[in-house]
């Protein structure tokens, strides 16, 4: 198979409310930053994949409002109404199909502009579920409770993720929420939906992220530090929460197996140097690390307690602070890919993991993480 690399990444600072930019201006900022960094010209990028949500933007066909900003005038722009990790997959397919040599991938969201409860409620089907007022937070809380119960874990275990990730976020200039907390102070936060407290829930953010992908034949034109897409897997589970086993995520298990196989990974704990996960809620980092084969089931928290997944550990997880540091819907997964890329390029700044050569970046979407996408990225 032909090889494709990430040759540039750009992201805005994530903020609770960006008053001075409308969302097209926010997108323009990251695209300009990316073009300045790679020396790419608008004229030569003819394959553009965007990720955004009509509901979050409050209009139909949300990509229409950013088509100028991404330079798609008189070109081929196409949209994924799902997480940015899936937009990368779509962009890769369009390059591998032989139609294009490059792809611009851009995701945006302004969480501040819509009612998060009502939009989250609209995820659920109107015939059997929506009228109950359930939303993304409460449905994830149901998963958190089922997971904690299955493995005899408590909110103290969740607080370990909060303390680590919000601590890491202090070193990430793009993060929106960052705190130096103790386990005790994390546990003093108000309960929002048991067992989830305020800090366990990622803060809705405004922001955008962009990547430039290039076929191996042209990658050197844009960077001397390409990051290669070595493996990918994508899978989704049942839509209705009651049809799934919420104590696990079979879709992630399958997505990871596919990505590992493609990248030749047989021992992820040894072969990966850094991991960026989409943990919209603290419990998800514990579940995802276990399902990815980095820890035995129910023991994900030991990775933190034993210092394995901390910033100075042998396998740092979410050195950026993860999604608990900023949650722009559909953007957050693309940011995981961008952060993994920065790590592999040695450009992550104060949250840099030393000598990272291979990284895992993960995206998810849907109520209680219905859909997962796993990327393996490498220097080689």
């Amino acid at each position: 198979m032909d090889r494709v690399a990430i040759v540039g990444v750009a992201q805005t600072k994530f903020e609770a409310q960006k008053l001075d930019q409308n969302y097209a201006e926010m997108v323009f900022e990251v695209v300009q930053q990316l073009f300045a960094q790679t020396g790419a010209q608008y004229a030569e990028i003819d394959n553009i994949v965007t990720a955004s949500s009509d509901f979050w933007d409050g209009r139909t066909i949300s990509s229409m409002a950013v088509q100028d900003a991404v330079g798609a005038w008189l070109k081929s722009e196409t949209k994924v109404s799902s997480d940015g990790t899936l937009a990368v997959l779509y962009a890769l397919m369009r390059i591998l199909a032989g139609s294009f040599k490059t792809a611009l991938v851009v995701a945006h969201c302004k969480s501040s502009e819509g009612d998060q409860k009502l939009i989250g409620n609209a995820v659920f089907d109107p015939i059997y579920q929506r009228q109950l007022g359930i939303d993304l937070v409460t449905s994830s809380a149901l998963q958190a409770q089922a997971y904690l119960h299955a493995y005899g874990l408590t909110d103290k275990d969740l607080a370990e993720v909060v303390v680590k990730n919000l601590g890491n976020a202090q070193l990430n200039p793009h993060a929106q929420r960052a705190h130096h907390l103790s386990i005790d102070t994390a546990l003093q936060a108000a309960l929002v939906a048991d067992p989830l407290r305020e800090f366990d829930i990622a803060p809705p953010a405004d922001g955008a992220c962009a990547l430039l992908l290039a076929h191996e034949s042209v990658a050197a034109r844009y960077t001397d530090k390409p990051v290669w897409l070595q493996g990918v897997g994508h899978c989704q589970d049942q839509y209705y929460l009651g049809d799934r086993d919420l104590t696990t995520a079979v879709a992630l298990e399958k997505a990871a197996a596919a990505a590992y196989k493609m990248a030749g990974i047989t021992d992820p704990r040894q072969q990966l140097d850094v991991v960026e996960l989409y943990e919209a809620y603290s419990y998800q980092e514990l579940m995802w690390t276990e399902i990815l084969g980095l820890a035995p089931r129910g023991k994900g928290v030991d990775l933190i307690r034993q210092g394995v997944s901390t910033l100075s550990g042998t396998l740092p997880v979410n050195p950026s602070g993860g999604v608990l540091g900023a949650h722009a819907m559909f953007v957050a997964g693309l940011v995981r890919v961008a952060e993994a890329t920065l790590q592999l390029r040695g450009e992550a700044g104060r949250h840099q993991v030393p000598h990272a050569r291979r990284a895992l970046a993960h995206g998810m979407v849907g109520p209680a993480a219905q859909t997962h996408c796993v990327w393996i990225l490498g220097r080689d």
Partner: protein
């Protein structure tokens, strides 16, 4: 410099608006029958002839093998809590703090989401037995089961 910046921020506006779009969603034949029976305080699921799985709420086709579900089976009204959460904020549409549970009705193989009332939050647990309380005036929606309460 600082005052200029402040003035320019004061000039920023946020355009306040909203969208209210009525929809008329066809429920399909299965959900229509389900709601007609629910109005009579009867709970029905559908059974997959291949996997023998009883789906609740009922679906026209099995969620796993896609086989058309042919048999209607009565389920509940008692159920077992398979997960729960207490939303401490006013949730969408209901506009009040709400206790949610994933419930497996007796006789069903899938769980579904509903709300609990008349329950002491400290007594909530997975495995808890609850029973359906039906709405006095059914409207043809999922709140025709008003809520579930401990048995």
């Amino acid at each position: 410099m600082e005052s200029t910046e402040m003035e320019s921020r004061e000039e920023l506006i946020v355009y306040e608006s909203s969208m209210r779009i009525p929809y008329r969603w066809a429920a399909g034949t299965i959900a229509a029958r389900f709601y007609r029976e629910l109005a009579q305080q009867q709970l029905w699921g559908t059974r997959c002839p291949r996997s023998q799985k009883v789906l609740f709420p009922p679906r026209k086709n099995c969620n796993c093998c896609l086989q058309e579900t042919t048999d209607w089976v009565t389920v509940g009204p008692q159920a077992t809590v398979t997960s729960f959460t207490v939303a401490r904020y006013n949730v969408a549409l209901l506009n009040e703090p709400t206790t949610y549970a994933l419930l497996r009705l007796d006789g069903a193989d899938t769980a579904f989401i509903h709300r609990l009332k008349e329950v002491d939050p400290t007594q909530l647990h997975i495995g808890m037995r609850v029973t359906a309380v039906f709405a006095v005036e059914p409207q043809g929606n999922i709140l025709d089961i008003d809520y579930f309460r401990p048995v």
